[in-house]
């Protein structure tokens, strides 16, 4: 009787010990998975952002904006003169590219902080091709591009001038 009671005590002790160890390892696993899942969330956010930026980069390669007057390596540049002409045409402002916002910005050297119009082109900074955002630019992605325009003052007879620019694009949100 005494020995069976002793054995029961031992079993109880073992059970409590196992429960304590399991709780301990469960806490360790919770901490580990919390840290891992937050890292995964950061990676997913980075991937989503890269995908959206790819849209901006792709816009620079469309035939309507691409500088095609010389062979590569200039073909990945945005033709600013072409883009300015396009900005005057209404057909590109609506669902042609499925964008709510498309703008090309002259980054360096910086120009006067004005939107491009017939009166100030090419001494302007922002060339807006599409703006259907009603002031809400949340989610706009940008990508650096080379912009090129004809400068009649270069080389005394005129030549193409390459500058550093940035293309801003916001995909159309069909829910809005």
């Amino acid at each position: 009787m005494r020995s069976s009671k002793k054995a029961q005590m031992k079993i109880q002790q073992m059970a409590f010990m196992l429960v304590a160890v399991m709780i301990f390892f469960a806490m360790v696993a919770i901490v580990y998975f919390t840290i891992t899942s937050s890292k995964l969330r950061d990676t997913a956010d980075d991937l989503r952002e890269e995908e959206a930026k790819e849209l901006a980069r792709q816009m620079a390669g469309t035939p309507e904006l691409m500088f095609s007057k010389q062979a590569s390596p200039y073909s990945s540049s945005v033709d600013f003169d072409k883009a300015f002409a396009l900005s005057k045409m209404n057909v590109y402002k609506n669902k042609y590219w499925n964008l709510d916002y498309l703008m090309i910005e002259k980054v360096y050297p910086s120009s006067i902080n004005e939107d491009c119009t017939s009166g100030n082109y090419p001494d302007c900074r922002y060339l807006i091709l599409i703006d259907n955002t009603r002031g809400n630019y949340t989610g706009t992605q940008t990508a650096p591009v080379a912009i090129v325009w004809w400068d009649p003052k270069l080389e005394s007879i005129g030549n193409y001038r390459f500058q550093l620019g940035r293309i801003h694009a916001l995909a159309h949100d069909p829910t809005k």
Binding site: Y108, P144, K153, E155, L164, R166
Partner: protein, 171 residues
């Protein structure tokens, strides 16, 4: 030893054994945590498509160096800086200095570097790979600004004669 003392001693031994086991497990946990955190503190560098696009764009940048109204791309200036570190533009400024200043200004125009913005600092280097190792083109001083962190987005653009333009943006 009385039976009661024997029982007490045994109970104490059991408790000490339990505490020792917990101690060993806790030490193992701390060791693994230390290894994991040390790995997390290492520098993480990823290829930055934005940075690559910037390098692609800036190397086409028109520089008026040989004379006012001249037009040559920045990539030509890099090759000229490599060919001769003392050659000058028509303004009297050294070509390597013009190159360095242009790159510096272009980077600062493209990104905002301060404590409150996501981009904290940048590091740019133009170097040439030779048999004896790397040779920097800007008086052995890469362009750098801000506080360097562990998260880097970087890209390189190769030119002829083994010249490489490398830009690192620190987040």
């Amino acid at each position: 030893m009385t039976p009661q003392n024997r029982i007490n001693k045994k109970a104490q031994e059991e408790m000490v054994g339990f505490v020792l086991i917990m101690l060993v497990v806790a030490i193992m946990f701390l060791v693994f945590l230390g290894i994991y955190l040390r790995d997390a503190a290492k520098t993480h560098e990823t290829e930055g498509k934005d940075v690559a696009s910037f390098l692609e764009a800036i190397t086409k940048f028109t520089i008026e160096c040989d004379y006012i109204g001249a037009s040559s791309p920045l990539s030509d200036l890099i090759l000229e800086c490599d060919a001769s570190s003392i050659s000058t533009c028509s303004s009297g400024e050294k070509k390597c200095d013009v190159l360095r200043n242009t790159l510096n200004q272009a980077i600062n125009s493209s990104w905002n570097f301060n404590e409150n913005s996501p981009t904290k600092a940048y590091f740019m280097d133009v170097f040439k790979e030779t048999d004896k190792g790397e040779k920097a083109l800007f008086n052995s001083t890469p362009i750098t600004s801000g506080i360097l962190t562990n998260n880097i987005r970087a890209a390189e653009k190769p030119f002829s004669k083994g010249i490489i333009l490398r830009l690192e943006i620190y987040y």
